[in-house]
Amino acid sequence: MAEPSEQTASRTPAFIIFGLVAVVFIFAFINSKSSGLSFYPLDQFNVKPILGKGPVGTFTITNVTLWMALTVAGIALLLVMGTRGRALVPTRMQSVAEMAYGFIYKMVEDVTGKDGLRYFPYIMTLFMFIVFSNFLGLLPLSFTTTSHIAVTAVMAVAVFLAVTILGFVLNGAGFLSLFWISSAPLALRPILALIEVISYFVRPVSHSIRLAGNMMAGHAVIKVFAAFSAIAVISPLSIAAITAIYALEVLVCFIQAYVFTILTCVYLKDALHPHH
């Protein structure tokens, strides 16, 4: 009699999972009959207070501030705990922290050169903040702070102002030679200068909206497919689609943080060496 009970014991988790999936499907089916399809893909980006339902003021604790605080806590946990031991043979946490440090260090060195390494701490901070808030936003029921243009615009405008001020402080009026391309024919230079000036001032716009738009679009697509899963017939298909898009989102989260950081390095290089 021991054998069958052992078999059922090993099958219990599969039964539980199957039962849960069946219950979810049944609820989805009932729900789809009563209320039909309901798409609210952008509702997940609403900023609301954690406690109560009052208006959002300057010092209200909202879901944005909560997840930003968790981002900072996560970075601090990784870097503080990772560098605590400083073992010759690193633990898992230490090797992740070292990898992140080495990755950004190499990027700054490759793009801006040796003299850009003075600004490495700022770029490392940017990368860690963006990559952590992107990945924390992938957790179910969490909130993606970088999906808000208000959040990314602060970072992009800070980079823009820092680079512009740095360029003028280091090069004086010579920074303006960034817009005057001396390798082009003389007749073309004023037109090129106009284009360069426009593209310079458009930088913070594209820099911030690229990150926010990518995050927002990915999460909205997941929500749209999740709404389709209310129809029982196509729900397996939509769950498979959500899984696939989620895997893509993991990639996108990292690549967008990487792109934001490397563009910061490119802009910094322009400020350090404005001559073409």
Partner: protein, 78 residues
């Protein structure tokens, strides 16, 4: 009535603005495709140029982002 027509125009315009993102898609595909065809001919030089590829992608994508921005402005700001 007039406001409805304006809103309809704004929504149609937002949809049309989104076609600009197709151009960004073509541009990004061009950048990555050419990078790959170059990288497969000379794989030893490919590693050093990955960052350049991402910068190229970012610049190609920026123009699609402007059309996305126009769509957002038409949807929520007009």
């Amino acid at each position: 009535m007039e406001g409805d027509v304006v809103q309809m125009g704004a929504y149609i315009g937002a949809g049309l603005a989104c076609t600009g993102m197709g151009g960004a898609a073509l541009g990004v595909g061009q950048v990555v495709g050419n990078f790959l065809s170059g990288a497969l001919r000379n794989p030893s030089a490919a590693g050093g140029q990955t960052a350049t590829m991402f910068i190229g992608i970012a610049f190609a994508e920026a123009l699609g982002i402007f059309s996305f921005l126009v769509a957002l402005l038409l949807m929520f700001a007009v």
